[in-house]
């Protein structure tokens, strides 16, 4: 009974960690540019596909992850530079369509490069489950949670301790004022896309041994990441992390106790319920509108 609950919690936290990374990616880009980047899921896919295919052709795993990460960052910067920045003054809907166009484009390229079939990546340190109070934990889950934890802490330190991080935060608060004190806001936007892409790609690489990688793996992961970001309050970093973990755990509990067929619906039912009562998410500030 308790073992069962623990089992669901563990699998929920594992997938929740990936949602948290994706949600953080949404928040970072939203803060820097007020764009919802629907191509976030494709960064996850690039990370997963690159590490799976590169290791299959003999590249050592850490190097493969690094290459995937670098590739995703380049793609992210390209999307920001050639599409998003150029449409700076366009409306919200237009910007959403641009990032959706980017995600369709990237999936198309990925299909061409890697093909449509599922790619396998071996678990990083074996598949002997660890027994924990009657629940069993895959070593890869530890990798996922560990990597996500380290990245989240690193991002927190980056935004609070480094000058670049503070400049990015300043831009999110007031773009014009940041520009006036000499922050290159265009580079901040590019940096935010690179950072989010890196987060997504690492997430994709560590989760690949659990979910397999395929060109459409990013769609649902990306949407759930968006849910996580909105749940925590758009643009609120720690909120996005909490949102991701909540969504992951709720999904695992829903799949375990209610119905596994409706697993994917859980995240969206939660977000609708929360938005009805808290229109700004769990931790978002109450918005005031400047007239």
């Amino acid at each position: 009974m308790l073992a069962e609950l623990l089992q669901y919690l563990l699998s929920g936290l594992t997938i929740g960690a990936i949602y948290a990374l994706a949600g953080l990616g949404f928040s970072i880009i939203y803060n820097a540019s007020h764009v919802i980047n629907f191509a976030q899921g494709e960064f996850i896919m690039i990370g997963g596909m690159a590490s799976a295919t590169l290791t299959a052709s003999g590249v050592p795993l850490p190097l493969a992850i690094l290459i995937g990460c670098g590739g995703a960052m380049l793609v992210g910067v390209a999307v920001a530079k050639f599409a998003v920045e150029r449409a700076r003054k366009a409306s919200t809907v237009t910007l959403i369509i641009i990032t959706i166009g980017a995600s369709i484009f990237l999936r198309g390229v990925a299909e061409l490069v890697w093909g449509k079939d599922f790619k396998r990546l071996d678990a990083f340190s074996g598949e002997t489950p660890i027994q924990l109070f009657g629940a069993s934990l895959q070593p890869q889950s530890l990798w996922v949670m560990g990597c996500a934890g380290v990245l989240i802490v690193a991002i927190g330190l980056f935004f609070n301790k480094t000058l670049t991080g503070k400049a990015m935060l300043a831009t999110s608060h007031n773009r014009l004022a940041a520009q006036l004190v000499g922050i290159d806001v265009k580079r901040v936007v590019l940096a935010s896309f690179a950072l989010s892409a890196a987060l997504g790609a690492v997430g994709g690489a560590v989760v690949a041994p659990i979910t397999f990688s395929y060109t459409e793996m990013g769609i649902m992961l990306g949407l759930k990441g968006f849910t996580a970001a909105v749940l925590g309050g758009l643009g609120h970093g720690p909120g996005a992390v909490a949102g991701g973990l909540i969504v992951g755990v709720a999904e695992a509990l829903g799949a375990g106790y209610l119905s596994s067929a409706y697993k994917d619906a859980v995240a969206f039912v939660i977000i609708l319920a929360v938005l009805l009562f808290m229109p700004n998410g769990l931790f978002g500030k109450r918005g005031t509108e400047r007239v």
């Binding site: 449409a87 369509i97 198309g108």
Partner: protein
Amino acid sequence: MNRILHGRLTGLAVLGAIIAVLPVFLTNNFHLDVAILAGFNAVVCVGLNLLIGYAGQISLGHAGFFGIGAYASGVLVGVYGWPPVAALLAGAAFVGVLAFVVAKPILRLKGHYLAMATLGIGIIVSIVLRTESGLTGGPDGMMVEPFKIFGVELYGEKAWYWVVGVLLFGVVWLSLNLIDSPMGRALRAVHGSEVAAEVVGVDTARFKVMVFVLSAVFASVAGSLFAHYAGLITPAKADFFKSIELVTMVVFGGMASTFGAVVGAVVLTLLPQALTVFQDYQQIVLGAILMATMVFMPKGLLPTLAGLLPSRRRA
């Protein structure tokens, strides 16, 4: 007033003429089929354009309403033996009530939060359709009986072409009238500045709810008729990508332009057919076209083209 009326009638006349003359050039059933599909999409887009272009609200879940209409017709007619017209009305009524119930709290939300909420509704609808296979046939979809009214069966592409053509004409006419009505002016005020609209006494929430319900009902009716026409429906017609496709058509054609929505629907229905020559590169080309259009013509196709002709009045 006279000028607006004049411009509106010109546009309607052009649309009517195109619908009437087009069959002459559509020589085979495949061409007619594509035209019919474009018509269905255009009906949904005209409604969605009222919401996006005039009320300034995004919906990333309109395919969900289309899907509810389609499956209401499929299930009620096929499983419970209802007359098709009754099933269509029941589907539309259900979607209307659903949209009304969710609209009140959701339309309080702004920008991205609203996008999230409508996206959630759409995805939940498509998951339900996929899962309740006892009624809906699951991921493989279900067959739908032909449309019958007063014992007469609607049969063949030619007949359906005229049904969809008349429907589209009616929906455009309704939408143009609405835009020029006091409600339309209120909606434009909401789009311009919601706070200012409220200050001068426009009940913004009420108008937003009304237009959301109306656009959802348009989608449901189109979905019902589409189900009967196609004879086979799958949950893919209700999923996130279909919703995205619909929004893209509206934005591509030109927001806040009824004829723009029609043009967007037609162009983006034809595009995948044209892109089949690219085979494996199809998705890449589609993605690139979407990005390029939005980057270089952020206002959409029709308003941008209209802007190139400064002497002409806007459609």
